[in-house]
């Protein structure tokens, strides 16, 4: 695993309200190159919303996000100028996102899914985009499915195609929002394996997950979030084996009790 480099993502003071519901309460995150951070916590703890604030799929109520060379501030009243909108787009070009329910484009083949944005957003030539896409389709072991439509793929294949699509934009940071939660149990492994390989090869990743075993294997740092705030963070062995905060302890104990993938 390559050693950590300079900071590539920096989020400060992220807040998010849905109506009067205060979902994210002042979260900060700094991510260094080659680092893999996993966000864990109960459903509804605000970790997914926090992730979606980082690329402005949710407009944060307050805070500022910097990814690589682009910094964007929250604009809760939506009176952002055109130039600001363009900044958000520039920021999104630098983060790849993988969703819980894949969101592959069903009217395009796997390959078209992977080259659409590089061509339309980055202005790459078709040949160049195909070359890059095929490299990543190989990486996720889907080269043989490159001309299939998503409807013909299994859940695990869909998610791997979605990972290849995100990688084909060659982003600085990859974000995963519960990438295995919509999968049948027997298909989770193939997706986690791909993600683990990426982490070990030095990709910079933020992963929202309930897979504790996976966090232990692939994370550099685990962050436990509860009720929109950061409760505890640390290397996986430390946070998962000897959590300090009672809330973290209670959360992990419930995971072990329910027999979820917490135990080795």
């Amino acid at each position: 695993m390559p050693s950590l480099g300079e900071p590539v993502l920096n989020a400060r003071g992220i807040e998010k309200y849905f109506g009067y519901n205060h979902v994210v309460r002042g979260l900060d995150l700094e991510l260094r190159r080659h680092e893999t951070v996993m966000l864990v916590g109960r459903s509804g703890s605000g970790k997914s919303t926090f992730l979606r604030c980082l690329n402005f799929l949710e407009e944060p109520t307050a805070g500022v996000v910097r990814i690589a060379d682009i910094e964007v501030e929250a604009d809760p009243l939506h009176d952002r100028s055109r130039r600001h909108q363009e900044h958000i787009r520039q920021l999104r070009m630098r983060v790849g996102m993988v969703f819980q329910d894949f969101n592959l484009f069903p009217h395009m083949t796997v390959l078209q899914n992977c080259i659409e944005a590089p061509i339309r957003v980055k202005g790459k030539s078709r040949a160049e985009a195909v070359e890059i896409a095929e490299r990543y389709l190989n990486k996720v072991h889907l080269m043989d499915k490159r001309d299939e439509h998503p409807a013909r793929l299994s859940g695990g294949q869909k998610q791997r195609a979605a990972i290849a699509r995100a990688l084909s934009m060659e982003p600085e940071v990859l974000m995963f929002d519960e990438p295995t939660s919509a999968l049948d149990p027997e298909l989770i492994g193939e997706v986690l394996k791909v993600m683990e390989d990426l982490a070990h090869e030095g990709a910079t990743m933020i992963v929202v997950t309930h897979e504790m075993h996976f966090a232990r294997e692939a994370a550099d740092r685990v962050i436990f979030i509860d009720e929109g705030t950061l409760v505890e963070e640390g290397p996986p062995e430390q946070l998962l084996n000897s959590p300090q905060d009672p809330r973290t302890q209670r959360f992990l104990r419930r995971f072990l009790d329910s027999g979820a993938s917490g135990a080795d």
Binding site: L57, Q90, F99, D101, E116, R120, H149
Partner: protein
């Protein structure tokens, strides 16, 4: 030997894994389906012959010579009918896409314009709109040939109804599709035209088919401004010969057959699309 024989017997019975009763049930199912279809067809035949006989045969009989003589002329109008409907449906789809964009726009000027269009067109009869396009526009200096005015009025009218269809189709594209496209850095225009519209189009394709089939028949209204389509030709052939019954019968039959052809075509298209999806 006896065992061997018995087991091979059972083996044959079980080799395709089913009991003889299964074959019997399936066969009787097919049989019932065939009987149903035959009786269904006979019902249609009896009813059609009966209706035609009651309407015409009882009085003076059908003029077969007239039908044979004028059938090609009236049928020729079907080409115009299909052409007008085809062009008008394309125009309507284009109008509907922009109408739907307008109805979904957060810009009150654009939204207001699109909503007024839908409200005005849906609030007035198609026939009035056809007259308007032909006579009223001519009065203010825009003189359009009948076929252009008629086609435009049909496109305009159907565009308004289909605006609502497209709006629903666009809203039926899952939100995650837009999010994924935006997350990749696509501009709103690219998101709309490359990701949302192709999927909305697939959702509304059956509805477009229905609208087209309805339009085939509504296009008969343009005969009032002298467009030589199916109904106009039937009138032109029937009136001077005092054979309006025969002429309208032929026209009705042609409309009906056109409808059946396009319905079959649409069903096949829908089945193919259903297979392509999940």
């Amino acid at each position: 030997m006896a065992y061997g024989h018995a087991s091979s017997d059972i083996g044959q019975g079980a080799s395709d894994g089913r009991d003889p009763i299964v074959d019997q049930i399936i066969r009787s199912g097919h049989q019932r389906q065939l009987t149903f279809r035959a009786q269904f067809a006979i019902t249609w035949l009896i009813l059609i012959v009966g209706i035609v006989y009651l309407l015409a045969g009882g009085r003076r009989g059908l003029d077969g010579d007239f039908i044979v003589e004028w059938f090609p002329f009236i049928l020729g109008g079907a080409a115009t009918t299909v052409a007008i409907s085809g062009i008008a449906i394309v125009g309507a789809v284009v109008l509907a896409i922009f109408g739907a964009m307008g109805r979904l726009s957060v810009n009150p000027w654009i939204n207001g314009t699109a909503s007024l269009y839908v409200s005005l067109v849906r609030g007035t009869p198609l026939l009035v709109q056809i007259f308007f396009a032909y006579y009223a526009l001519a009065e203010v200096g825009l003189v359009l040939p009948g076929i252009v005015a008629g086609t435009a009025a049909l496109a305009f009218n159907y565009g308004a109804y289909m605006t609502e269809v497209f709006r629903a189709g666009i809203q039926a594209v899952p939100r995650g599709q837009r999010e994924a496209a935006r997350a990749l850095g696509m501009r709103e225009r690219v998101v709309f035209w490359r990701i949302v519209i192709p999927q909305a189009f697939r959702i509304v394709t059956p509805a477009i088919g229905n609208e087209f089939i309805a339009m085939l028949k509504d296009s008969s209204l343009v005969f009032v401004i002298g467009v030589g389509e199916l109904l106009w030709r039937a009138q032109a052939a029937g009136r001077p010969n005092v054979r309006i019954f025969e002429a309208l019968l032929v026209a009705a039959l042609v409309y009906w057959i056109l409808t059946i052809i396009f319905t079959l075509f649409q069903e096949r298209l829908e089945r193919r699309m259903a297979r392509a999806d999940r």
